[in-house]
């Protein structure tokens, strides 16, 4: 039983600011792992380190047995790690469908000439990509608007589209950065169900950054709490909820 994702003494500094400070933890296969902490605690930076978007200052990180510390983002994605972004980074002027199709890049092989000449390989790939994308869009209830520009979608729909796009990568590990931001409680409840459902259906391991405490508590198997880049607590929701350090840091008083 090896961990799906493990980070060891991970540190990242920006100038004088230590955004992530000597953080170590493991995410086990199949769990939903919550990452919480006040704004600016270093949660998103941690995601960026794990996905290779930000180089690590010191420490190491592994995906299963593969060390990913110095890998490029696209190499890490190829291992089966997908993510969404806190401030939604859809390909805004492309259609919803294109967004999802793009994310299947790693599962297709057609080169320039396949595409231009529309070889049988390209055609069959396109068919599969199209079908699978539509299936994913149906799951997030966006199939009817597949051809609309992504940026024209309401906030909540953009969040769901981003999740669909991440799923199109067919990842083993999915990192969700505040997927419920900007949603009302009803939407959040739906989102929780959706995440649970996705977790089951796609046999995923999920790491979730979320501010909304009830949502995190209800959804996660384990929770890590960051404050000022430091991991201050790690454990089950109820254990974390009662940790005085967490109450002090997260609830602000």
């Amino acid at each position: 039983m090896s961990a799906m994702l493990s980070v060891q003494n991970l540190t990242r500094t920006f100038g004088g600011l230590v955004a992530v400070n000597d953080v170590s933890f493991c995410v086990e296969e199949g769990e939903i792992f919550g990452l919480i902490g006040p704004n600016g605690a270093g949660k998103t930076t941690l995601f960026n380190l794990v996905t290779g978007l930000t180089p690590v200052t010191s420490g190491r990180q592994f995906y299963r047995d593969t060390e990913t510390t110095r890998m490029k983002p696209h190499q890490i994605a190829a291992l089966g790690i997908a993510r969404t972004f806190q401030n939604i980074r859809l390909f805004g002027s492309l259609s919803a469908l294109d967004n999802v199709m793009i994310a299947q890049h790693l599962h297709t092989r057609a080169g320039v000439f396949d595409g231009v000449l529309s070889t049988p390989r390209a055609r069959s790939e396109e068919r599969h990509v199209y079908d699978y994308s539509m299936t994913l869009l149906e799951k997030v209830n966006l199939a009817s608007r597949a051809h609309q520009e992504a940026r024209s979608f309401p906030y909540g729909d953009q969040r769901r589209l981003e999740i669909a796009r991440a799923l199109a990568l067919q990842p083993k590990l999915l990192l969700l950065d505040e997927p419920g931001a900007g949603m009302n409680p009803n939407e959040k409840a739906e989102l929780s169900d959706f995440i649970r459902h996705v977790h089951e259906e796609f046999d995923l391991t999920i790491v979730l950054i979320e501010h909304n405490v009830p949502m995190v508590m209800g959804l996660c198997d384990r929770i890590a709490v960051l404050n000022f880049g430091v991991l201050i607590a790690l454990g089950t929701p109820s254990a974390v909820q009662n940790d005085p350090a967490v109450i002090e840091a997260y609830l602000g008083d």
Binding site: F14, T44, N48, L53, T54, F85, R89
Partner: protein
């Protein structure tokens, strides 16, 4: 290369670099505020030189719509240069209002503004030719350096091992330093200068502080045109107004200079000018331009944001 020749070339390089720098100052000023390459700066630079000529009361040649016309006033060179600069600044203001502002308000792609400014440059250059022809014009030296009784060149060393710098270049170096000093003073020590820096760094925040960003942008264009116009006159003084393409021939080098120094960075423009000026001077003459650009290429690979530019940290 012996020491004298080395020193001579160093002087040559610095003086060439200062010419590049004063061309680039107005260029980089607009970039710092708007993040846009303003190609029309080359044309405004050229216009400045022509305006000065006009304000000196000199008459145009035999070609063009204004053939043999002249203004009924005869300003001394320095006054004419300032007047020329002011008018060039006003032209820049008109350009901002007519071409830049409408695009800005529509949230247009900066590249579109670049192309628009290019169109203006083409129109202005051809307008100059239409009005006063393609011939060279010069400020009569008797009315420029003559009153001061200066020789055409200064020898900084002995007659046996001369270290020569033409007087005009000394004038340009000093004038550039004065312009630079005034600009630095303006930007760092005055209210409007601070407002310019605020708008350059963050236009939204600047407006939250009560700064009318629109007016600051307009002022920046005026300043850019003013400096450009004066620079055009100084270059015109040094090498004559060689025709409507005077400034255009500086356009590419000027761009290289500001990119090398770091876009929007005023000390960077000066440093970039000096680096390229000196590199060109020491390069074999047949490879001059290539050497300047190879250096630019290599420096960019090492410092993608230019020598003094600030690295942009992408927020994820």
């Amino acid at each position: 290369m012996n020491t004298t020749l080395f020193l001579q070339q160093l002087i040559n390089g610095v003086s060439l670099g200062m010419v590049y720098a004063i061309f680039a100052l107005g260029y980089t000023l607009v970039f710092s505020i708007l993040g846009i390459i303003n190609f029309s700066h080359s044309a405004v630079f050229t216009l400045g030189a022509y305006f000065t000529y006009a304000f000196m009361g000199l008459s145009w040649g035999f070609n063009g719509l204004l053939a043999r016309q002249s203004l009924p006033l005869e300003l001394p060179f320095v006054l004419a240069m300032l007047a020329g600069g002011v008018v060039a600044g006003l032209v820049a203001v008109v350009i901002e209002r007519a071409a830049f502002k409408p695009l800005r308000q529509r949230g247009a792609d900066p590249l579109l503004t670049l192309v628009s400014s290019l169109g203006i440059a083409v129109a202005l250059v051809n307008l100059i030719q239409f009005l006063v022809g393609a011939e060279a014009y010069s400020y009569p030296s008797a009315r420029v350096l003559g009153p001061l009784g200066l020789p055409p060149a200064l020898n900084l060393s002995t007659p046996e091992a001369p270290l020569i710098i033409p007087t005009v270049r000394v004038v340009i170096i000093f004038a550039s330093l004065i312009i630079l000093a005034l600009l630095v003073l303006l930007i760092n020590a005055t209210k409007v200068g601070k407002a310019m820096r605020a708008v350059a760094e963050d236009g939204t925040t600047a407006s939250l502080l009560g700064i009318n960003t629109d007016r600051i942008i307009l002022f920046t264009f005026f300043l850019s045109g003013l400096i450009g116009g004066v620079a055009g006159t100084l270059v015109g003084l040094s090498v004559t107004i060689t025709g409507p393409y005077l400034g255009i021939s500086f356009g590419l080098k000027g761009l290289a200079v500001i990119v090398l120094g770091g876009l929007g960075n005023i000390p960077g423009a000066v440093l970039g000018g000096l680096v390229i000026g000196i590199a060109e001077t020491f390069a074999p003459s047949s490879l001059k331009d290539a050497v300047a650009f190879v250096i630019l290429f290599l420096i960019l690979l090492a410092r993608p944001q230019g020598l003094l530019g600030k690295a942009v940290v992408q927020k994820v």
